[in-house]
């Protein structure tokens, strides 16, 4: 899967991300910033829902991390659309790199960036807001790794389906925020209205936060979060399948806004 050429594409993809790091920085800075003033209300919500000693960080940190990670969805689309705007897409395709090499090479650096973003936000949450994990750190890492894979696949699907960057960004951001909100990133899913709690099951954010809550508060290990992991894997397969089915390398995309 990881051919030499996909690694070459990934290397340049990483340089392109680092050349314009503002979007990634935003997804790191904003959750920390928001955390500073949302902690008291999160604490109150958790204590109301029956967790007596809650600091607020137990939900706030994962919630904000997941919420802002969804901004990465539009970054995935941008990766592909910018190649069209820069006129480099056809050059890539004319090279001896296969479409799979290009796809994997383009997605790999962003996957690593989004994973790093989550790691930084969780670490900052631990240092600044007292976030602690009672369960398995390995389980937390696996959940986050799978969640980021779902986000990247969702972004790739949007890039495959839509013709213009504007369409992909708008749908990515709106869809991402809706999924995050519905999934319990803004407030615990258990505090949402009944209809929203039912709809939350259709959001990858719900299953991610469900697993993280068990790992954070209920000493859960990998074996305890197999159901949310399986559902996230299902989302990954679904989004990837649509992306592969709809992606046409020769399609003309409009990469400017």
């Amino acid at each position: 899967m990881l051919s030499r050429r996909s690694l070459v594409v990934a290397g340049t993809g990483a340089r392109l991300l680092l050349a314009d790091p503002a979007p990634i920085i935003v997804t790191i800075v904003l959750p920390v910033l928001f955390g500073a003033f949302l902690l008291p209300s999160s604490r109150a919500q958790l204590r109301q829902s029956g967790i007596a000693n809650a600091t607020g960080a137990e939900h706030l940190v994962p919630g904000l991390a997941v919420l802002f990670a969804f901004l990465g969805v539009s970054l995935v689309g941008t990766l592909f659309f910018r190649e069209h705007a820069w006129g480099t897409w056809d050059r890539l395709r004319a090279s001896s790199a296969s479409t799979a090499d290009i796809f994997v090479g383009k997605l790999l650096p962003l996957y690593a960036c989004l994973l790093a973003q989550l790691a930084v936000v969780f670490t900052a949450g631990a240092v600044m807001f007292g976030y602690r994990v009672t369960g398995s750190l390995l389980a937390l890492a696996v959940v986050l790794a799978l969640f980021v894979a779902v986000l990247v696949a969702f972004g790739a699907m949007l890039a495959a389906v839509f013709r213009t960057m504007d369409q992909a960004i708008v749908i990515g951001n709106v869809g991402g925020m809706a999924m995050a909100g519905l999934g319990g990133a803004l407030a615990p899913a258990s505090t949402l209205p009944a209809w929203a709690q039912a709809a939350a099951h259709a959001s990858p954010a719900y299953w991610t936060l469900d697993a993280i809550e068990d790992i954070t508060l209920h000493r859960a290990g990998l074996a305890d979060v197999t159901t949310p992991l399986a559902v996230l894997a299902g989302f990954l397969v679904l989004f990837s399948a649509v992306a592969v089915a709809r992606f046409r390398a020769e399609d003309t995309k409009v990469g400017t806004t």
Binding site: G87, T88, W89, D90, A94, S95
Partner: protein, 311 residues
């Protein structure tokens, strides 16, 4: 190096290529000409593996380009018509990326980056972001990225558009060098003099097919029409074999040697040539040949006004 057979391509009802055959040998530069919309870019896109034809075949170095895509792609260098560079990367990073993508190892790629930057007069810009380059430098970088791995088959689709005189000369030098090293070059342009400077063979894509494929001198000899006109200030005299065209006297039939024809006409007119204001000579050229092949009448041709003759 490149063998195209019976290539057909349509976009919906619009049939662009109707059975194109084209061969380009190693060390040969072929100037691919055709009016706007003739399908030059489509032909190059298919040959470079970017589009699938409806019918026909493309063989590169004897291999079917569609079946053996990874192998044949290594042999290709493509500079598409539209500029394609990474603006936020440096010139070095742009070149290095395509060198490594073509399969060159790190040390070979570094050497190629240095020598190619030198050849394209970009050596002093290697560590600058591409977005800071001038238009001509961007165009040179764009072309350099196509040849960084010394491909055996190079497609250059209007590589000098927007380039200044110096940039254009530099690009032509590199194209000559590539051909001298044995690369087959397919070169499209609307600047016909570039093909004369390159000594390119000519292929004219017209009405969906290659209408003419021949060496430049042969194309000019077969299709390059010569012309002559005697321009008068006052009344235009009559002369057998010539007709009056406004204030000019022009031969009724094509002439092989326009200067000799003008001299003979002036001798025949004798004293009646007193109102002569000028002599216009149109020499056979690639432009006149191209216009004749593509049937574009009424387009101004290169004119050489020989006022000395009139005097």
């Amino acid at each position: 190096m490149l063998e195209i057979r019976d290539l057909t391509k349509a976009y919906g009802d619009h049939r662009v290529l109707l059975g194109v055959d084209l061969d380009v040998g190693a060390g040969e530069i072929v100037g691919l000409l055709g009016p706007n919309g003739a399908g030059k870019t489509t032909l190059i896109s298919i040959a470079a593996g970017l589009r699938r034809p409806d019918r026909g075949s493309v063989r590169i170095a004897g291999r079917d380009a569609m079946r053996h895509r990874p192998l044949t792609a290594r042999l290709i260098g493509l500079a598409p018509q539209d500029l394609g560079i990474y603006p936020t990367l440096t010139v070095r990073q742009n070149l290095m990326f395509f060198a490594r993508l073509a399969g060159l190892g790190p040390s070979v790629a570094r050497r190629q980056v240095d020598s190619t930057a030198e050849a394209f007069d970009l050596a002093d810009r290697l560590n600058h972001r591409a977005e800071t380059l001038s238009g001509g430098q961007k165009r040179r970088l764009h072309t350099a990225m196509a040849v960084i791995h010394r491909p055996k088959l190079v497609f250059l689709d209007e590589p000098t558009v927007g380039a200044d005189v110096a940039s254009r000369a530099g690009i032509l030098d590199v194209v000559r060098q590539l051909a001298a090293e044995g690369a087959a070059v397919v070169y499209t342009t609307h600047y016909l003099t570039e093909l004369e400077q390159l000594g390119a063979a000519i292929a004219v894509l017209h009405a969906g097919r290659i209408a003419v494929r021949a060496p430049l001198p042969e194309v000019i000899a077969r299709f390059g029409a010569a012309g002559v006109a005697l321009r008068f200030a006052g009344e235009v005299p009559h002369l057998p074999g010539w007709r009056v065209d406004g204030a000019r006297l022009v031969p009724e039939e094509t002439v092989a040697d326009p200067v000799a024809a003008a001299a003979q006409a002036l001798a025949a007119l004798g004293a009646r040539a007193g109102g002569l204001a000028g002599v216009e000579i149109v020499r056979p050229s690639l432009e006149s040949a191209y216009l004749a092949i593509t049937g574009q009448p009424g387009v101004a041709q290169t004119e050489e006004v020989v006022d000395a003759l009139a005097a």
